[in-house]
Amino acid sequence: MYYALLITVILTAVVLVVAAYVIAKLIGPRSYNKVKGEPFECGIPTHGTSWIPLHVGYYLFAILFLMFDVETVFLYPWAVVIKDFGAMALVSIGIFLLVLVFGLAYAWRKGALEWK
């Protein structure tokens, strides 16, 4: 199908990134000191290790976001092909969205959207 277009897009992306990196490496200013590699914490060296057990609320937040993000990603190809499929497409996407709305309502009732 449109493979030529796809390959061009991928190649442009790769070439742009690599070219930017190479040009900067060749002509940009260089300086390195030990402190540049350390994390920034308002000027004070960090305390303790970062590999500690994190609060589970962050995970919940991330999972919910991911779900709705993937839903959005699925909506894009549907929007492209809806003209060819007609009314059946509307019904099927309606069912898809309904399932996700039930999931959101369940999460809301269970209090997953509050921070505890």
Binding site: I27, G28, P29, R30, S31, N33, V35, K36, E38, F40, G43, I44, P45
Partner: protein
Amino acid sequence: MEVRKPVIKSIPYDEFKDNETLEKLTKELQDGGANVIVGSLDQVVNWGRSNSLWSLTFATSCCGIEFMAVGCARYDFARFGFEVCRNSPRQADLIMCAGTITNKMAPVFKRLYDQMADPKYVIAVGGCAISGGPFKTSYHVVNGIDEIVPVDVYIPGCPPRPEAMLYGMMQLQRKIKVEKFFGGANHKEHKPIVVNGVETYEK
């Protein structure tokens, strides 16, 4: 090619005070001569750099309030390109040290300067940053930040008026406009400066 003078729009070259330092600096940089193409590219890069210097929000004491006033509606440094103040040193080009640096703050300030990405510039705002100011005789004050970091522009005053701070910022813009970028200027080794037995900076 003769040396071009740095131009700030609508302010004549002779109105600025310290032109001799700038001319000496330019002569040093252009010692080997510059050919037309590289010189023009240099000017493009310098134009871009000098007109979009974003400074770090760094204000320790009274001069910080005048710094905020310069940013606000009446004096507005955004029209010079200093659009926003970045909060992280990795995203900032310029550190305007407004306020006294004490002995306890000195390592913090050094660390912030080290964490900034090149090219970076330092402006010492106010008497305290230039030499310790009214607190020179104190037991806990660093007598001038040029003992710790290389300073490009000094703005005297206690606190300097906002117009003085804008003038200092314009001087920094002129200093940047005479820099060299292409032709290996960035890869020269600079020797570190040693203070108190500690290497303080490499530029």
